[in-house]
Amino acid sequence: MSEILEVHELRAYYGQVQALHGIDLSLREGSVTTLLGANGAGKTTTLRSICNMIRFTGAIRFDGIELNTRSTEKLVRLGIAHVPQGRGTFTRMTVEENLRLGAISRNDDITGDIDRMYAHFPKLKERRSQQAGTLSGGEQQMLAVARALMLRPRLMLLDEPSFGLAPLIVRDLFKILGKINREDKVTIMVVEQNAELALELASDAYVIETGRIVMSGPAAEISNNEDIRKSYLGY
């Protein structure tokens, strides 16, 4: 399998404060990779750098294309979908409008894809003409994932999808993510604090601490290593 995303020597800053101190990552095409770490370790910052939403140095390549100089809105056209922390739903717009917005950079017919999303997430179909802000937390997260899929992305970045959700709902959500990865061949990178569940889904894992990668390898290996689990993942 070839590498779809390569990150080299990524350093990022918030004003004067350096948040990332030289991160190296690579994602195999078709894999699910998880980036684990505690609050403030730099997980979100890594995702935001990939999407060019903050200032950074280093090299980020997607499918061989240099991303550094591309604005956030242009990255989408390469097939990178980002589900931000806090879901980023358009709360005042309807569920269906949210889905249409996910595909707004596409110029082909999207009605089939909207139906496909309703098949993945039947709850969304029931609520298609409701304002997204009135949905429950779990439904909003489903909507955020569905909106990202409407792009027909090659790579989907998810920032703490489990945040604030009940365990059962999180389990459902991760099941769907696995299905999307297998059936639609979408490469997934998921940032999580909920390490146990993320390691079940992922094939590869990275552990980040205070802006540095401290561990990487196959997900199974990391979840089987008790020392790592105790010192970095807290379970």
């Binding site: 980023g88 802000g133 429950s136």
Partner: protein
Amino acid sequence: MELLTNQILAGIATGSIYACMALSVVMIYQAIDHLNFAQGEMATFSTFVAWQLMRWGVPYWPAFILTVTISFGVGAAIERGLFRPLANASILTNVAGFIALFAIVNSVTGMTWDFTIKEFPSPFGSSQFLGSELINSHEAGMIGVTGLLLVFLYCFLGYTKVGLAMRAAVSNPESARLVGINVGWMVALGWGLASSIGAVAGMLIAPVVFLEPNMMGGILVYGFAGAVLGGLSSPAGAVLGGLLVGVFENLIGTYVPGAGNELKLPIALALIILVLRFRPDGLLGRNVVERV
């Protein structure tokens, strides 16, 4: 009874101009969260452009369309050049920017076309509308054009891809960027549209109040009042608010003893404050309760 109908219709006619101004105020408020104090002056400037074009021999409707187009460009250019750099500045910086814009546009208009009153033609004439005693054809025209404008905006925002993108950029700029929307251009588009709507309002009211550089001053106050009454988050609310202000104003002037021309404005505004006391987000404004 006839007097009442007459006053209500006349109120709707002037109200439709307030509605246009309210609409342009709301367009910009939605895009950047600030009230544009210079909206009226920009509309006056546009009206002078139309006047000048007709002076040069351009017939009314081509001049009308050309003016709307030019106003769109000027509005978008003002956003790009002046307010985009202020996007992250404090509220007061922005307010200062708007006041500066107000003064600059006003003086440029005065310098270019001087301060004497000018006549501005109406494409609808001033005969009785369909033989009715109640409303003249220009008033009917104002209502008609405002109605068309509203239908156009409704279709544009609700049913086109660009309209959808524009609403998304307002609703959540960061997420809009993440789905591939160029938020900066959407804001400029909002300014362009607001400026065009203002131009329409100016060209429609000019035959009634005569054209001069301070023509829109009072009208913008009514427009603001209408926008706030209807709800700053709702274009339909802005139109409703504008119309209600127009009707209030006329009815108070006619029926409240001693109110006359001097007091009808303050009484109308006092009524609005009373309404807002009970509905702070305006009549159609939305205060969305969000689940977390």
